[in-house]
């Protein structure tokens, strides 16, 4: 699971380099994100721009990441493509995660917060 990680101010920005979060990769995604955010206490933004496919296992992995963030931080997803957007809308998880159209706007909104 290929994920770039960089610190922008106090925001941890994770950029997915994979085309899918599916049943074959959801566990690796979850564990990789866990290691990338475990020592980080600030906001986390995930750039989903490269992700062309998400299934319910991948959705479950995103929920697991949201739980890692605890009660005081939301899961912020930027640039969700059409399939990811459709799965989130169908399952109404678009109301649970915080969605952004633009990575830079998401990061600066969180960094200022």
């Amino acid at each position: 699971m290929d994920i770039d990680s960089e610190l922008r101010g106090n925001v941890r920005l994770l950029t997915l380099r994979e085309a899918r979060i599916d049943a074959a990769g959801s566990m690796a995604f979850k564990e990789k994100v866990r290691t990338l955010i475990e020592d980080h206490e600030g906001p986390v933004v995930i750039d989903m721009d490269r992700v062309e496919f998400l299934d319910s296992s991948g959705l479950g992995a995103l929920v697991a990441v949201m739980k890692m963030l605890g009660r005081n931080r939301s899961l912020e997803l930027a640039c969700c493509g059409p399939v990811v957007g459709k799965v989130l809308t169908l399952t109404r998880m678009d109301r649970i995660f915080v969605l952004h159209n633009d990575v830079e706007a998401a990061v600066s909104a969180r960094d200022a917060a």
Binding site: D22, A24, S56, L59, G60, K67, G70, T91, M93
Partner: protein, 152 residues
Amino acid sequence: MSRAAAEPAADELIRARFPATDLAVREQIARVRVCLCRTRASVALQENVAILLGEILNNIVEHSLAGRHDARIALAVSRDADGICVETQDVGEPLPPQLLTSARLPETAVDVVNMPEGGFGWFIIHALADEMVYVRDEGTNRLSFRLSEPAP
């Protein structure tokens, strides 16, 4: 006039048998998407087929054939005037009947530590499939469904 002429056969896009593994499922979904690109199906319909196939095939791998990676899944995808038809077959456990009628979303109005990480799959299936038929026949599960062009 023959029956075949009155009801033109669906245009078969894919007929495949593959191992019941996550990686084989991923590969088949990619293959189906390539085939659908060559049809007149809209991009939205192609996406719906991919999403639905992911849920149906993962369900077979994880539940029907749980752990039996030597077992195979048969998949047929065809196109007719009304949309895309998909049929899967496997020799695993029968499908629990309550899954066939409808599905509810898991409860998400809960504390974050209790948020559900599963239970979304069958809701997605029912949301996208227009007609779903399930037959259990001599130890074989045969599940077929149709997806129509989504409203613009």
